[in-house]
Structures are given as C-alpha cells and as structure tokens.
C-alpha cells in the first residue's frame, strides 16, 4: 500500500503538473473511466511546422492514481511529435509510475494515456490491453 501511494504519487496528486485547459488548442479530447465514472480531458498545442507538442494540459477529477499518472505522463510530452505519441507504449507509463498497480486500478493508471491517444487519433480509442489485465 505504502508502495502504491509513494510520496511522489501523492505529491503529483496534491500538486498536479499541467492541470488546466489550453485555449486556444489544436487537439482536444475527453473520455471517462467506466468503472468509476471519472472524466478527464486533454488539450494540446502543436508547433505549426513540426507538429511537435508545444504545450499540454489535462483536466478533470479523479483518484490519486489517475491524477498522478496524468501529471507524470504530460510532463514528458513536450517536444514529442504526434507520431511519437501514437507509438507510445502504455507499459512505459506503468513503468514510469513505478508502483505496483493491481488489476482493479489499471484503468485509473491508464486513463490519461487513453485520453491522449483519443486526442492525437481524433476519436475514442479502445483501452490498451494492459488495462484489461485480470491478475
């Protein structure tokens, strides 16, 4: 437990990075976690010539795991191209969180990833199979 709620997770939860809504923005998408009803939106601003991410923000309410995951994931997005984001592996995000996430909480940890993929792909995407793990 103390493993799951390590200090840096709680720190990101209390003081999330990149929280808010970018206006104007180039990409915007919102999605939800059906197991808890939590909703998250993401806005991205792109460099007009390179299509690299200039700025990103997420918004919504959710649990410590989903909020910390969004905060940590968005920290690493600036400078990445849309194509690089599309190629992101959800496992890398789980690794970056660095805490053991039980099967019941995987969707919490991967909601930000799903919203981001929806934003760069222009519509809702399926949950990555990592989120469907059952044990």
């Amino acid at each position: 437990m103390d493993n799951l709620y390590r200090d840096f997770i709680l720190e990101h939860y209390r003081n999330p990075h990149n929280k808010g809504f970018l206006d104007p923005h180039d990409l915007h998408f919102a999605d939800s976690n059906p197991t808890c009803g939590d909703e998250m939106s993401m806005t991205l601003r792109l460099d007009p010539s390179t299509h690299a991410i200039e700025d990103v923000a997420f918004d919504g309410r959710g649990c410590a795991i989903s909020q910390a995951s969004a905060s940590i994931m968005t920290d690493g997005l600036r400078g990445q191209t849309v194509e690089q984001v599309k190629a992101m592996n959800p496992k890398d995000l789980l690794d970056e969180l660095g805490v053991p996430i039980g099967p019941a909480r995987l969707k919490c940890a991967l909601l930000a990833y799903k919203v981001l993929q929806g934003a760069v792909r222009g519509g809702e995407v399926a949950w990555p199979e990592e989120a469907e793990a059952v044990g």
């Binding site: 437990m1 103390d2 959710g62 649990c63 410590a64």
Partner: protein, 420 residues
C-alpha cells in the same frame, strides 16, 4: 463516540462475530495478513458452509435434470428444486409457490417484467414511473421499454438526505401511470423506502407496482401480501445464496396473462410444427434447464436466514448502522449520505472523505483488510443528484459486528492520515 469491541449486541439478537465460523471466507487472513473485515454485502454476500455443503451434496448425490426423468434421481432433484421454490415463496410471504419464477438475478426478474408484461401492456403515451434512487437494473429496462413503445418515463426526485420525495411521487403519478418501479432499499445510499405508502399511491394512480427487493429481501422481513405490491424481484447472491439464481414474484393473475419471455424446452405443453402451447406458471417463464443446484443453494440460504429470523437480522444491522453512523459522524472530513434516522436506513453507509477519491479510499482500506465498494454502485443518477462521481460504501450483514465498525472507523482515519 467510544466503541468497545466487546460491547454486546442488542438483547434478543445474535452476535455477528459468533456467526463468522459459519463462513469459510473468514477462515484465513487477507493478503496483507489482516483479519478480513467484509463490508460489501450490498454487492454480494459471502456464503455460509451450509449453502456450500448443500450444493456440493446436491451435485454429488441428488443431481439429475428436473421435471422430466422417470427415475429416482430425477424425482429427488425435482423435489429438492421445487422445495427451494416453496422456501422462496414462504420467505416473501407469497400465497403460492406457483407465483415464484426462478431467474438468474433481480436484473433478469425486472427484465422479464419489462419484456413480457411491458411489451404486451404498454403503448404510446403511457407512463412508467421510477425513481432517481434506483439501481441501473430498475432504470435501464424501463428506458428501453418506454423508448420502444413510445411511452414516457418519469423519475421521482430524492431529497438532500437521500429520501424519496413523496410529493414528487404524487406529482409524477398525477394523470395516471401504468407501472411504478421502486426499490425497497437503495443500494447506493441505504435508504429504506416507505413501500406501503408508495405502493398505495401507485395503486391509487392505477399503476402496477414492481418492487426491486434485491437490497431489502436479504436484510429485513418482506411480505408481498402485506406490501400489496404486484411484482417483486430478488437476487440470491446478496442473501447468502449462490450467484446465478434469483426470483421474480408476481401476482398469479398477472403471471397467467403474461406472454413468455424466453421460449424453448420446459415452458411448453405441446409443440407442433405450426406452433406451441405454453406451460402453466411458473414454468412458462423457465425455458431450458434451470439453475437447479443454485436454486437448492438459495433454499439453504433461506434456511440459514430463517434460523436467525429476519426481524433479528434487521435489528442486528440497525444496531451496527447506528453505531457506525455515530462513530463516522465524529470524524472530521467525513460526509455521510442518506438519512440519519436508523429506522429509515439499512445497513449500508455511503460516504465521501474530503479531498480523497473513493477509489483511493477503497485501496487503502484493502491494505487494512477492510473490503468496501467504491464507485457509482450502478446508480449514477444518485451520484448526479449529489454532484459526485462516486462514493465509498460499507455494508453490513449478519457476520458483521462491533469490531467491524471499529475497523471501519480506523480505516477511515488511516486513509486520512496517508492523504493528510
């Protein structure tokens, strides 16, 4: 409020802790090495040994298909299966076991009424009334039905403290309604609805009344004749019985007049290549081989509850509720939902901790050995009413006791400390 774990339960009732040896789930410690504090009966209840052993014995020594075999084993299985039907009938005060239709769960019971009675009796412009307090199982079937036939669906509002607004019920029934669908107890908030008055109002408006008893039948006496309702749905798995079995009770005349929901074997008297004639109730609604052993297991669960007495079960949970409500009210940063009056509140407590998401609460509780539910409890309109995404819910049953109330309060404090 100070609680001593050794505090005796109410006079005349039973000790929850003393029943725990009956439930194998409490045999060992949790993964974290703690005593299991199971506070999620509202989702599904643990099973006593008597249910598990009855089912194992039925599979081992009394199993064959029912209603057909002309041999001893089938007659034995049929008599046990039909005996379970009689137990369900007696448990809810039905006049006849012929009024008991075995289904998978309360959800299927409600769908049976929506598909069979609903599609035969509802037409464009008719009105169905349900409430904002309901489980999705008592909302979505009516949404589908009313959309399909062009009828309207109304929701009775709930008060700030989680009670149905009876004035709003009267308003929604004004001008008549064909059906009123209401829960005996809210699974999300624990509210005990004043069913007698609600049913009377429904009947005065010309409506049939369906009671979703999934959350009430396991925890308090239910008598369909005294209630004067028209349909009642329950789930076996919430009342110490196995999953995959539940019951629909309906007035005989209504069931007789309803067309079948599913068709196939068992539910016919004669099939030719031109058509079929329907069997009598309840078999008309039980197409195919039923959940034989699950029904027998449900019968064993009813025996277990019957030995305790449903009045005693209710008194036991009322006592635990009152203790838990008092002790949680004393902790700053805890928001309790639903009515404070223990006479209006079943053993289900939905709460929100300031600044801490219910999923995080449940995860920290889990590490303390305390199993609670976090989420919308399949009652999103209730969450909408209070503008929250979710709550944490603790629910009591016969095996819970004061030590579990203490563990609940301790887990709340531990969660607040971690997130503090």
């Amino acid at each position: 409020m100070a609680i001593t774990p050794a505090e005796p339960a109410i006079p005349g009732a039973f000790s929850g802790a003393s029943l725990r040896p009956d439930f194998p789930v409490f045999d060992g410690p949790t993964r974290s090495g703690k005593r299991l504090v199971y506070l999620d009966a509202a989702a599904s209840s643990p099973k006593p040994r008597s249910v598990i052993e009855t089912m194992s014995d039925a599979y081992s020594h009394h199993y064959a298909n029912v209603h057909r075999g002309i041999y001893e084993l089938s007659e034995d299985a049929t008599s046990r299966f039909e005996g379970a039907r009689r137990k369900v009938a007696r448990f809810i005060g039905a006049r006849s076991e012929r009024e008991i239709v075995f289904v998978r769960n309360a959800t299927e019971a409600i769908n049976l009424v929506a598909y069979s009675w609903g599609r035969a009796n509802l037409k464009a412009g008719d009105r169905v009334v349900t409430t904002q307090l309901e489980h999705h199982a008592n909302i979505v079937p009516w949404q589908q039905l009313t959309r399909e036939v062009g009828a309207t669906l109304e929701y009775v509002a709930i008060s700030d403290d989680g009670r149905l607004e009876l004035d709003d019920l009267r308003a929604k029934l004004r001008g008549g309604a064909k059906l009123l669908a209401v829960a005996g107890v809210s699974n999300a908030l624990g509210t005990i609805n004043p069913l007698a008055e609600i049913i009377r109002l429904g009947h005065e408006a010309g409506a049939l009344v369906l009671v979703d008893a999934a959350q009430s039948a396991p925890h308090m006496p239910v008598d369909v004749v005294a209630l004067d309702c028209d349909f009642l749905a329950l789930s076996g798995h919430k009342m110490l019985g196995p999953s995959g079995i539940g019951a629909l009770w309906g007035r005989r005349a209504l069931l007789d007049a309803m067309p079948p929901f599913m068709t196939g074997g068992s539910m016919i008297t004669r099939v030719t290549m031109d058509g079929a004639e329907w069997n009598e109730v309840p078999y008309k609604f039980e197409a195919g081989t039923p959940a034989i052993v699950e029904a027998i297991g449900l019968g064993a669960a009813i025996d277990y509850l019957g030995a305790l007495g449903m009045d005693a079960v209710r008194a036991h949970e009322r006592y635990l509720f009152a203790q838990a409500w008092a002790v949680l009210s004393d902790i700053p940063g805890v928001w309790l939902l639903g009515p404070a009056d223990p006479d209006l509140h079943a053993g289900v407590i939905s709460f929100v901790l300031d600044g801490i998401h219910p999923h995080d609460v449940a995860t920290v509780f889990d590490s303390e050995g305390v199993a609670v539910r976090a989420g919308h409890h399949c009652a999103q309109p209730v969450m909408l009413r209070y503008d929250i995404p979710a709550t944490t819910r603790a629910s009591f049953y016969v095996y819970n006791d004061t030590d579990d109330v203490v563990a609940l309060a301790d887990a709340v404090r531990a969660t607040q400390k971690l997130f503090g």
